[in-house]
């Protein structure tokens, strides 16, 4: 299943946030959305998943989602959004219960996603016992449990320290390599974008418009920390964004 954004515009009252965004999200690829603070990239992500309605334009699903997908458009949030009163297992079973998956069937899915996210030993732990990186792995396991056709990731690594971030990026690459998934990945961190994105969409400052779409052909598995060619792309992205980011920063200071 592909996704298509068709001339999306959005405004909060008089403030125009997004202007004329059209984009293809083809199956099996990770699309990164980058842009300065307040450019509306998170808003755009909420629209793609149907949590918010654009003022104009449409989000289209092209083709049927796979039959076994319980929740085709599934989010991974920056703050993890785990229920603190449920164990790791309970947090995952939460999203299965409503689909009538219980008992052995649920156990099988939970064991599978916990194994894929290397959490099998922590099934009974409560969120308060986990580190930030592990919490986000639980959130990713939960997202995988509903077998999404598109993962919508809202700055999933931003709340983590830089070492944890590197480790989790490796985990995400490994996951994708084993079984490619489609993802829209919002971030303000260009290093994450060049490591994980098949295509990187650069948005301008408010109102957000697409400035450029940068494609990176190097396979995800071959990319590494501090690769020369990736640094070049990252530099290019930064030149695109620098002035916008400064202007956006000063704009916020004016408020």
């Amino acid at each position: 299943m592909d996704l298509q954004l068709d001339r999306i515009c959005h405004a909060y009252g008089d403030t125009e946030v997004l202007r004329d965004i059209s984009l293809e999200i083809p199956q099996g690829r990770i699309i990164c959305l980058v842009g300065p603070s307040g450019c509306g990239k998170s808003t755009l992500l909420r629209m793609i998943g149907g949590l918010e309605r654009p003022s104009a334009g449409r989000v289209l699903q092209v083709g049927e989602p796979p039959k076994d997908s319980l929740n085709p458009l599934t989010y991974v949030f920056q703050d993890f959004a785990l229920l603190p009163w449920r164990s790791v297992r309970g947090n995952i079973s939460l999203v299965l219960e409503d689909h009538g998956i219980k008992g052995a069937a649920a156990d099988q899915i939970i064991e599978d996603v916990l194994a894929r996210t290397k959490l099998s030993d922590f099934a009974k732990a409560l969120p308060k016992q986990l580190s930030g990186g592990m919490k986000q792995r639980v959130a990713i396991a939960r997202a995988l449990a509903v077998n999404p056709s598109v993962m919508l990731m809202d700055e999933p690594l931003s709340a983590l320290d830089s070492q944890t971030r590197e480790l989790l990026m490796d985990d995400l690459v490994a996951l994708w390599t084993r079984q490619p998934f489609t993802a829209v990945y919002v971030t303000h961190n260009l290093a994450e974008a060049v490591r994980l994105g098949h295509a990187i969409v650069v948005l301008s400052r408010r109102p957000g418009e697409i400035r450029e779409v940068v494609e990176i052909d190097k396979p995800l598995a071959e990319r590494g920390y501090g690769d020369r060619d990736l640094e070049e792309v990252q530099k290019h992205l930064w030149t695109l964004m620098r002035d916008e980011a400064r202007a956006a920063d000063e704009e916020l200071l004016d408020v």
Binding site: L73, Y75, F77, A81, L83, R86, L94, D98
Partner: protein, 269 residues
């Protein structure tokens, strides 16, 4: 740095970070009680506290023993505890339900919040005669009074707690396509539980206060009736014995809620 540190003559930096840190001083609380009671005992024995001012603590204890040995303690406690349990259970469960509805629906909020605000300050005791007409002079009016008194603080605490439930968790539930029912039962209710329980602490203390008021009309037995009778007889020993029972009841209720909190809210950091 490779050079060796030479001890120098200088003024040591003064420590100024002391105080203001709460420390556990378990013995102080009981000590205050013991000193006050000893003072009362000594004062009433030596005569500078007249029999009209305060009862002698040892006499209160004797009254307590009488209550125990004659079995009257349970004759008074049983109906009071029943009234407390039934009244508070009705008030708290209806209060929690209404509070959740207010927290979830803006229509119900707009309709009921002003009503609750209007009911809250009414002294429920003033409505007792009305309740007698509505619910009868026997147990009905007593249940109603206690239920009514616990209802309003529970509603206010509950909808406040629902408002404080992390919105990102609700959004998460929606993003996974959970049904409205599931979101309320599995996300909103447990998320509001800390606020609901701390509200219950207050509501149940109010229920104990209202117990005395509820037993003003038509109660032959009950701790409240016992206290009122002692008051009208100006029998200070019985009055104090009754008040001590109410205090103990308050301590027990608070302990039980603390226990429930530890059981249910172990997930909190």
């Amino acid at each position: 740095m490779s050079e060796q540190m030479k001890p120098q003559s200088g003024i040591e930096v003064r420590f100024r970070g002391g105080g203001f840190a709460p420390k556990s001083r378990r013995w102080v609380g009981p000590l205050v009680f013991v000193v006050l009671i000893a003072l009362m005992e000594w004062g009433t024995r030596s005569g500078w506290i007249s029999a009209l001012t305060l009862p002698r603590p040892s006499d209160v204890l004797a009254t307590f023993q009488d209550l125990w040995s004659t079995g009257m303690l349970f004759k008074h406690l049983a109906p009071s505890l029943t009234r407390l349990a039934v009244g508070a259970a009705i008030g708290a469960s209806v209060g929690v339900s209404v509070g959740i509805l207010i927290g979830l629906s803006s229509y119900i909020r707009a309709g009921l919040v002003p009503l609750v605000a209007a009911i809250f300050p009414i002294p429920k005791i003033a409505l007792l005669p009305l309740f007698v007409i509505w619910f009868g002079i026997d147990e009905g009016s007593k249940y109603a009074l206690i239920a009514f008194g616990t209802f309003t603080p529970t509603v206010v605490a509950t909808y406040g707690a629902v408002d404080n439930v992390d919105r990102s968790l609700i959004r998460m539930g929606q993003s996974f396509g959970l049904s409205w029912q599931s979101i309320v039962r599995k996300i909103v209710l447990p998320g509001a539980m800390p606020g609901i329980l701390s509200g219950l602490r207050i509501s149940l203390a109010i229920a104990i206060i209202l117990l005395v008021a509820a037993e003003m009309l038509g109660a032959e037995y009950g701790i409240g009736a016992y206290i009122l009778e002692a008051g009208s007889l100006y029998d200070l020993e019985r009055l104090f014995a009754g008040v001590v029972i109410l205090s103990l009841l308050g301590v027990v209720v608070s302990t039980v809620i603390g226990w429930i909190e530890r059981r249910l809210l172990g997930w909190r950091i």
